[in-house]
Subunit: 114 residues, 2 copies
DNA sequence: CAAATATATTCTCTTGCAAGCATATAGTCA
DNA sequence: TGACTATATGCTTGCAAGAGAATATATTTG
C-alpha cells in the first residue's frame, strides 16, 4: 500500500527534518546537507527515499538540484488518521473512562511455579 | 523520538488493520487473529509492538486479554502533520503551479561518455 | 580536454525486523 | 494434579535498510 511506504519513510527523523526544511522553501542538496550535519551521500540517499515515496520533487538548475516538498502522500496519511481524530475530538473521554475500569497489565514479570 | 516509533509501527499494514478493528471495540487476541488471518504468534507480536508504542492497552479477564485502542500517539502524529495540512488547505495550489514551471527530473538513465 | 563543483550511486558491514515454527506461561476446570 | 484453552516468548532465517567510505556521473569553466 502507498500509505505503508509513507509511514516507513517518515519513521526516519532525518527525513522528517528534510521535509520541515522544505516546508519553508525549496533547497539544494548541499544546503540540506549542511543543515542536517550529515555526510552528503546520506542526504542524497534520504532524498531518494523521499522521492520514491512521492514526498519531494526535484528540479534541475545546471549542476544543482532544487528539492521541493510534495505533500500529497501526507494527505493520504491525514485521511487514514481521520476516523481516529474523531475519537479524541468527540466522546472519546467517556469511553476511555469506561474501559479504564478494567485492570491494566502492561508487561507482568514471569513468576515461578509454586 | 516518540513520533518516529509511532511511524515505524504504523508502517506495518497488519498493525494498522489491528487498530482499525480496535477502533470499533475492544477485542481478544483470538478474535484479531481470526480477522487478520495470521498465525496467533504473529498477532501477539504485532500487539506487543503496538503496546510498546503506546497505541493499545490490554486488560485481563481470566485467561483472556482484551486489547483496546489508545490513540494518544496518533495525536502526536496529527500534531506533526498540522503545519503540512495548512499547506494543502491554503495557498498550496498556487505555489505548486509556480514550482511546476521548473523541469522535473525523476530518474534520468545514465548516458555513455563520448 | 582537464579541473572543479554538485550530486548520485555502489559496496560492505551491520542491524532490525517479520515470518514461521516450536514451546513456554498462565488461567480454568474436572 | 492433569488436561485444556488463551496468549506470549524464543529461535532461526531471510530480507530490507542504514552508516560510512569510495567512487561515478554530470555540469560548468578555463
Amino acid at each position: 500500500m502507498r500509505v505503508s511506504e509513507a509511514f516507513q519513510v517518515l519513521a526516519e527523523p532525518a527525513r522528517r527534518q528534510i521535509l520541515d526544511l522544505l516546508r519553508e522553501r525549496p533547497r539544494l542538496v548541499g544546503e540540506l546537507t549542511e543543515q542536517l550535519g550529515l555526510p552528503q551521500p546520506s542526504t542524497s540517499k534520504h532524498l531518494k527515499a523521499l522521492r520514491e515515496a512521492g514526498l519531494v520533487r526535484v528540479g534541475r538548475d545546471g549542476t544543482r538540484r532544487w528539492y521541493r516538498l510534495c505533500p500529497e502522500p501526507l494527505l493520504a496519511i491525514d485521511q487514514w488518521l481521520a476516523p481516529y481524530r474523531r475519537m479524541w475530538e468527540s466522546s472519546f473521554a467517556a469511553l476511555e473512562r469506561h474501559l479504564d475500569s478494567m485492570p491494566d497489565d502492561d508487561d507482568p514479570p514471569a513468576k515461578e511455579r509454586t
